[in-house]
């Protein structure tokens, strides 16, 4: 038997949460309804907040509680609420049209996960932290979100992809390294929030200019025509 069971319970829970995070990333990749996409994003935030809190509890780093609370506030409550509002106001419900169909996307996603795991394995072996295996999953989540951004056509789903990529990075920061310094985390949170607000304004302008949030209108600028 592999040695998993010798790991303490909290590491097992982190591993479980990591797996759920990966699952959610795939679910986002497959999801067509934008409202569900936002809900999945909120779930991701919840998983992230719980894993951060658990790491904080287990390693006795109180600042991680703060960061978990921040995650909860920002990624489970505030950003999904903003996104829901945007979706309601802009009246975009579906993102059916995409560059690559779902099964192909999934297969590419699997390949990416394998790639990410391979990349992470040598690093994980060097790690001193107990939750080192999660680095691969964090990297995989980042890559899957990247894939989602590439394959989606609607501006809003691209942004959700961007946010979920940030989730993956955050997971790498908290679970693989037990959290970055507080200043940095605050800065990152601030950037994400401000970025989201700017984009919210942007959506309306894009819609105003193009009468749609479909990004195929945004492919005019090319060299030399």
């Amino acid at each position: 038997m592999p040695t998993l069971t010798t790991l303490p319970l909290w590491v097992q829970i982190i591993n479980l949460l990591a797996a759920i995070l990966l699952l959610l990333a795939f679910a986002m990749l497959a999801q067509r309804r934008i409202v569900s996409l936002i809900d999945l994003y909120a779930w991701q935030g919840l998983v992230l907040a719980s894993s951060t809190a658990i790491v904080g509890y287990a390693t006795g780093q109180p600042h991680l509680y703060f960061s978990a609370g921040l995650t909860l506030l920002l990624k489970v409550a505030l950003l999904p609420w903003l996104l829901h509002r945007l979706v309601r106001q802009l009246d975009v419900k579906w993102d059916v049209e995409r560059l690559i169909n779902v099964p192909t996307t999934m297969i590419i996603g699997l390949v990416l996960v394998v790639f990410a795991f391979n990349l992470a394995v040598p690093i994980s072996q060097l790690a001193s932290t107990v939750t080192r295996a999660t680095l691969g999953i964090a990297l995989a989540t980042v890559m899957l979100s990247f894939l989602m951004m590439i394959t989606r056509r609607k501006a809003i789903s691209q942004v959700i992809g961007f946010l979920s990529m940030e989730n993956g990075l955050f997971f790498a920061a908290t679970s693989a390294t037990y959290g970055m310094p507080m200043v940095v985390e605050l800065g990152i949170a601030l950037d994400v929030l401000v970025g989201m607000l700017i984009l919210g304004v942007f959506f309306f302008q894009i819609r105003e200019q193009f009468d749609s949030l479909d990004l195929k209108h945004l492919e005019k600028l090319k060299d030399s025509e």
Binding site: M1, P2, T3, L4, T5, L7, L9, Q12, I13, N15, L16, A18, A19, I20, L22, L23, F26, A30, V102, P103, M106, L110, V113, V114, F117, A120, V121, S124, A133, T134, G136, I137
Partner: protein, 316 residues
Amino acid sequence: MTITGFLSQLLQVAIALALAPLLVGWVNCCRAWLANKRAPSLLLPYRMIRKLFAKDAVVAQNASPIFRLTPYVVFGAMTCAAAIVPSLATDLPFARAADAIALVGMFALARVFMALAAMDIGTAFGSLGARRDMFIGFLAEPALLMVLFTASLLSGSTSLPQIVDTLAHREIGIYPSLAFAGVAFTMVSLAENARIPVDNPATHLELTMIHEAMILEYSARHLALLEWAAALKLFNYSCIGLALFVPFGIVVSGTGWQLLLSAAPLLIVKLAIGGAALALIETLSAKMRIFRAPEFLGTAFMLAVLAMLVNLLLGA
């Protein structure tokens, strides 16, 4: 091969044969209860099989030998599968042949014969059912294999008894890979056993049926064998699921009679719970259009592959 070993192997097969219709009856009862209906008798499947055996078989004029042979092949394949699935004990004489891939092969063999027989008569429904069944099988089998591989990765072997042994004697812990594989396996089982989101066992509505369309031409003892085989298939799948995901209580050495006899009631309890859960799933979900099936099974496949990947990375 000792006599006791042989006898306990026989016992396991006998229990499977005997309990399979009961499981179907139980699931039907649960479904009726959940739908607030009066439940049919628990023993209805037995009566049905007995009634069918008593009748004279009618076979279409243009039926080839394959048509007559199929019920026996399918029933035989399912019985063999019942012999190698470690439902009661792991150290049985057939255990050496009990390979996960062989098991999937056994199911595939039954499926191929079913499909051939369904097309044999040349009716529209038969071909339609055969086509749909192959379509589903083509999607479900890789997923099933992936689930089994995930379990194999944990134990380092594709031999079913060994997998179950390691899984039964692991320490209690959280295994994300097994959780994913469990969900994937449930989805595959639903599809493979023609249960609700994919097929509806309780209806003969032409446009949607899959399994029922294939056995439309059969009657009497042939039909009885096929129904029994279908019940056995459900039983086998349930046992695989139980062996992989709740293996506790399975006896390691199949020689101790007492142990074996203690494992049997436990199995019945687990099957009863599993059957009720199946009924619950079926009641809660609606049947999908056939074109949604690839998505459903694709999800199962993805989950199974993810389980494998997570297992490789996390070692759990």
